[in-house]
Symmetry: C2
Subunit: 495 residues, 2 copies
């Protein structure tokens, strides 16, 4: 693969300087238009050590308008990052819509070096490649422009540069380990080829840059970035991205049977049984939360359900059992403008707990396939791909050791009506009932369909949905507590 | 002090339950109104171990509407927190306008325990109290409602509770050290008295709660919180906060002489000298940046100046010298809505670098006393108190080991005009000139005054301003590089 860019191409300083003003003006114009069009640009920079990635980034930082441009390296991880799924550190640095970020290595760094050092197998680097493709596709579909640059230098140049660098820099030691690895030029090149091969696709292609001659290198980079930017802008100008996607959506039929119809809403608990069982499971949950803390296992509990189904009450019965130092409740409302300027999952990545802690979500990322679907806030192609995006998100959480429990609190429309009316009379409940609740009620059937599809597509063995019969609040609360206890017990028994 | 709340007060369960619905409704109503009025509420909970702080928080979480309510404990610090000034961890958790947060211990925790353990002296706990008062006053003036609750229990109850707790909990070990300290009841009470005494003031008074009887305790808490909320709401309804403050502001006189008039704008560098000196200082800065990294000393460089004075160019000449892994450039534009919902310093606390890294601010917190003052975005009482707030912010950075350099890039109005006109002709500079720049130009005199006051009030020995003559860009860039090198050299020589 790399022979294709071992061409001894050069550019004289004079020619470079002659081309610079026009190139720079074009890059600036493209950057400005991308900003105006609210397109996020992510430039991933990777390649052989000694190819001059740092120099290139410095030049690009000089050429572009610095506002809204960030550079991120991932070489010095914090424990906040290490205590979360690996991708968390990338999510927190993703450029917002209209902004631009350079990432050194990005998500390629770890698999590349691990495979070079033989810490992971061929199957594992291919698995990493699949996950990377998945992540990039998701960001691309969300409108992000991802430009991937690979800097290649010949073995001869590589040897010369490393020697020179060691002479110059007193700080080689900081990056010592990685540099030693780089000296294994052949092994590194082989890893790179494998990873590039599997992550090169039409959405987010790799650009191989011959980097032996710095003037040629920098002008090639400029041209590659410019071409990618202009192509995206051209697409943006000439087609309506929405209109081109026509997913097949099953029309909502006249009340077909869904999984919710199989929930037995007549179950209930006496006050006496309730108090006994609640107290029992709360004590148990308190112990388990501390055990999970000791084992550094996080817990993520998702609460979805009909309006007035008792999400808040169920969450309270759980949190009342747990030391307040160990949990956080996230109530999901309208997103802030910073959240709106990112992929919809970004705001949830923000709240992924550190290892050992628990986060309870009062509504969640499932809003994408519930309210956003039903209300039309998300286009069909957006919520249709969300099932996969969500599964992949939860898989990453579980792989890092998180325990996931997801609850749909189910009530009948009649019970909902009763509760709405009750809320109007109790002074401390009046704030809970709004016009929107009444409007949502009219869309019961559409929501019923959406819930069914959601459970169908996202109830995984590693992150199952629990459908909670909630006409009887006591029964529902105990079931939530019990399910949480069981999930924690099973996970902790395995670890 | 605490004898005043050793009164053996009790409340029966029945009376509590009878009062609960009304109290709860009132709390909810107050919470809702505070949310609507965009008032942030911070409830600090501290006190003797075993007084039931966790239980109280759990009950309050049950009573209040959980949306927009967060609970924070600061017992398990991350390295991201430890690598920054102590207050950074509080700033990142401060409630936004309209939201509510409970903090366990908050900024009282460290001085309290350190003094109890005799790790700090009496003078040091008093100094801590002064800084706390300062921080609380600042947040209070920004509109935050701060409610401080101290839970007291008698020595007898304390002994009984700790014994009981050890029997119940397997997890006492997690908080072991702190618990052992708590057993020194007498010493702890003495520390607390000293700290409370010095931090009790009319803006943010302490509420002492007798916590021996849990029903009485919880109802007292509810009443204290309710009273504080209602008082704030009453104030909000009955007075225009702005109108009550009439600071004396010197009218801008007809072009008085300011410190800027003493900047010699005729200095310049030849191209040859420029290249030589730039290269020299860039090499030096590169080395120093790595040395600062090794020494875990952060650098914060602030760039302010007239439009077109060359801030961006000066920043680039600095960053081009430094490994991109070590620095971050923050361009300060309009705040996001999350930033707007906090004290104006919050958005800068977000970007405080980890120990060892460098952040360059293209415009900064000085906007408060420059553009916000001149354009009237901040009221006089707001920007007048900002000098002290900024000094205190920078003092905290320096105390943690940060090196601060602040640059005002100064040009003459004639030179600005020349550059504006030049920008119109160069294609890659056209984006830099907007109508706003022309408008700002008309306010030259007002800005001149604002800069003068700013330098007067915020040029500290620990964080001095450098006024950079910038009519000649070459001279300005070298001066910035040189000043940065000197600041780093001096700081690193001392450490």
């Amino acid at each position: 693969m790399f022979e294709a860019v071992e061409l001894d191409q050069t550019l004289s300083r004079e020619k470079f300087k002659a081309q610079e003003p026009e190139t720079r003006a074009a890059l600036l114009a493209a950057q400005r238009e991308l900003r105006e069009k609210k397109i996020a640009t992510l430039i991933l920079v990777a390649g052989v050590e000694g190819a001059g990635k740092g120099e290139v980034i410095n030049r690009l930082n000089k050429w572009f308008d610095a506002r809204g441009v960030f550079t991120h390296a991932f070489w010095d991880e914090t424990d906040e990052e290490l205590a979360r799924p690996a991708n968390w550190r990338f999510w927190r640095k993703l450029p917002a819509k209209g902004a631009m970020a350079f990432m050194f290595g990005g998500w390629y760094w770890d698999p590349l070096y691990q495979y070079t050092r033989k810490e992971i197998s061929a199957a594992e680097i291919d698995e990493a490649a699949t996950k990377i493709t998945d992540l990039e596709r998701m960001l691309h579909q969300d409108g992000m422009l991802i430009i991937k640059l690979w800097f290649h230098i010949s073995r001869k140049t590589h040897t010369a540069r490393l020697k020179n660098r060691k002479k110059l820099s007193k700080h080689i030691s900081v990056l010592g380990d990685e540099n030693r690895e780089h000296e294994k030029y052949g092994a590194f090149i082989k890893s790179a080829e494998r990873l590039i091969l599997h992550t090169d696709n039409s959405d987010c292609p790799w650009h191989l840059i011959e980097a032996d001659d710095k003037w040629h290198r920098d002008m090639s980079v400029a041209k590659a970035i410019l071409a990618a930017m202009e192509q995206r802008l051209h697409e943006h100008r000439t087609r309506d991205r929405r209109a081109t996607v026509h997913p097949f959506v099953t029309p909502i039929e006249d009340k077909p049977v869904t999984i919710l119809d199989h929930v037995d809403l007549d179950v209930s608990l006496s006050q006496e049984d309730y108090v006994e069982q609640r107290n029992h499971y709360q004590r148990r949950l308190n112990e388990l939360a501390w055990q999970a803390y000791d084992a550094r296992r996080s817990t993520i509990a998702v609460f979805e359900g009909w309006d007035a189904a008792g999400k808040g009450g169920a969450i309270q019965r759980a949190t009342n059992a747990i030391d307040p130092r160990l949990y956080q409740v996230i109530s999901v409302g309208a997103p802030s403008d910073e959240e709106r300027a990112h992929h919809y999952l970004w705001r949830f990545w923000r709240h992924v707990p550190r290892a050992g802690y628990m986060t309870l979500f009062d509504r969640s990322w499932y809003g994408r396939v519930l309210v956003e679907r039903v209300e039309g806030f998300a286009e069909p192609h957006e919520w249709l791909r969300a099932y996969h995006e969500i599964n992949s998100f939860e898989e990453q959480l579980v792989e890092q050791g998180s325990i996931i429990a997801k609850f749909w609190l189910h009530i009948s429309p009649e019970e909902q009506l009763r509760r709405f009316q009750e809320r109007k009379t109790k002074p401390w409940k009046q704030h809970k009932i709004t016009d929107e609740d009444w409007r949502n009620r009219e869309k019961w059937e559409a929501y019923r369909q959406a819930v069914n599809t959601m459970v169908e597509h996202t109830s995984l063995a590693i992150a199952p949905w629990t459908l909670v019969p909630a006409n009887d609040k006591r029964y529902a609360r105990v079931m939530v507590l019990k399910t949480l206890c069981t999930a924690l017990e099973q996970a902790l028994a395995k670890s």
